[in-house]
């Protein structure tokens, strides 16, 4: 069972309270202002980093505050390096790895 810290509730709670919501920081192409190719749509919709190691991802505290937040989790050990609010900037991986040593 994963234990996940909700950055809004400031509590560490069991995985059952949360739903996984895929890779974080995937930006939608700016279709209003320019022509988007099929390949760009494919990359936005379907291509994922699927990284083996630290993974930027979204979670939702579905059975708590109901809010989405971001996290960095190592997909080999399943250990969370950090969880942070949606409005917070994307943390640098090198800083996180230094802190977690």
């Amino acid at each position: 069972m994963l234990l996940i810290r909700c950055p809004y509730c400031q509590q560490t709670l069991p995985e059952l309270e949360f739903t996984y919501a895929g890779q974080a920081h995937v930006a939608r192409p700016d279709a209003a202002n320019k022509q988007i190719s099929d390949e760009e749509w494919r990359d936005f919709l379907f291509i994922r980093t699927n990284v083996k190691g630290p993974h930027y991802e979204r979670w939702r505290h579905a059975h708590g505050c109901g809010r989405f937040f971001n996290a960095v989790r190592d997909t080999v050990s399943d250990r969370f390096l950090i969880t942070y609010k949606v409005e917070d900037p994307r943390p640098e991986l090198s800083d996180l790895l230094e802190k977690s040593e």
Binding site: E15, T19, L45, F46, I47, R48, N50, E57, S77
Partner: protein
Amino acid sequence: MTHFSALSLLKNALTGHKNWDAQWPDSQPKAEYDVIIVGAGGHGLGAAYYLAKEHGITNVAVIDKGWLGGGNTGRNTTIIRSNYLYDESARLYDHALDLWDGLSQELNYNVMYSNRGVLMLAHNVHDVQSFKRHIHANRLNGVDNTWLTPQEAKEYCPPLDISASARFPVMGAALQRRAGTARHDAVAWGYARGASQRGVDIIQNCPVTAIRRGPDGRVTGVETARGFIGAKKVAVSAAGHTSVVMDSAGVRMPLESYPLQALVSEPVKPVFPCVVMSNTVHAYISQSDKGELVIGSGTDQYTSYSQRGGLPLIEHTVAAICEIFPIFNRMRMLRKWGGIVDVTPDRSAILGKTPVPGLYVNCGWGTGGFKATPGAAHTLAWTVAKDEPHAINAPFTLERFATGRLIDEAAAAAVAH
């Protein structure tokens, strides 16, 4: 190498089974091959076997980071069926089923394919309508599938509770009679033996760290833990690790890797005659020839390479089984494990060429790759040998995610499969 027969069995029985030969040598890598296959699971070994047998290409190596058949081939719940909704999938999985039928004879290796039938339970009006649609679609594609009333389902599978008071009442079931199970390890071993007999090298405990390309973009070989190995063609069949390997060739894949768990009970006498699946409650169960109940369900919710998965999913799975089969609620579970499955956005496989010349891929089988083993291997070998798609794998391209011609089994089954 020994040809297995009643006579060879008898002969070896008389000498206490001490004189059986090794079934395949543990090969050392050569400097170069015509074809390298990354991943020694059933799909990869099978592709090597068909390359050698049907296309005469024997200068082939199958390379794996672990031991042969130690990934998802050895971790799945061994269910075989072909009752998929869409034409493309029905053709591919039914091709596999045709090959399963004669596989033991073909390989001279008992893969214990048992067409005991797969029964898919309908618990509500939506299930009934959707399964009947599947049955009609299957019949139009020449795939056997029959609708059973609750009474007929109970006759086929006596442990089933069809009483009106059941938590999830059975309103009928779809039965594919040709479907069933096989011995997963034996499939890998049989293909390994057959490929090795024809000159294929099987290189174990040798992780492939990168795919190398020449200045013209063509594949030149692979970097491994034992150094560079040259190859004219490389086929990646690495399940959950496919996107990691493909990334090194500069090809980004529409894949996400999730843990899929399964568990077995302690062995008991024969009690369960077929495979039962319930998409609504979401679990599936069969009994192995050793007597263990083999149980599985969906993937964990988060991507991971940990080959573990979490206990909440096991609890959900066992709860579902106990609801459908209350007679099993005092069975003790013996082991649980996880494998890493590579899931595509439309839940259909990717099987064929890639933008890189000389590089082929067989991946995205998600939670249901075992059943496709012979079909995937057979058509992958064709594509690698001829550098063109086989009629059956032609729709399963990587390009479909840009063109939009998806094969949306995800929507058809409403569960990962």
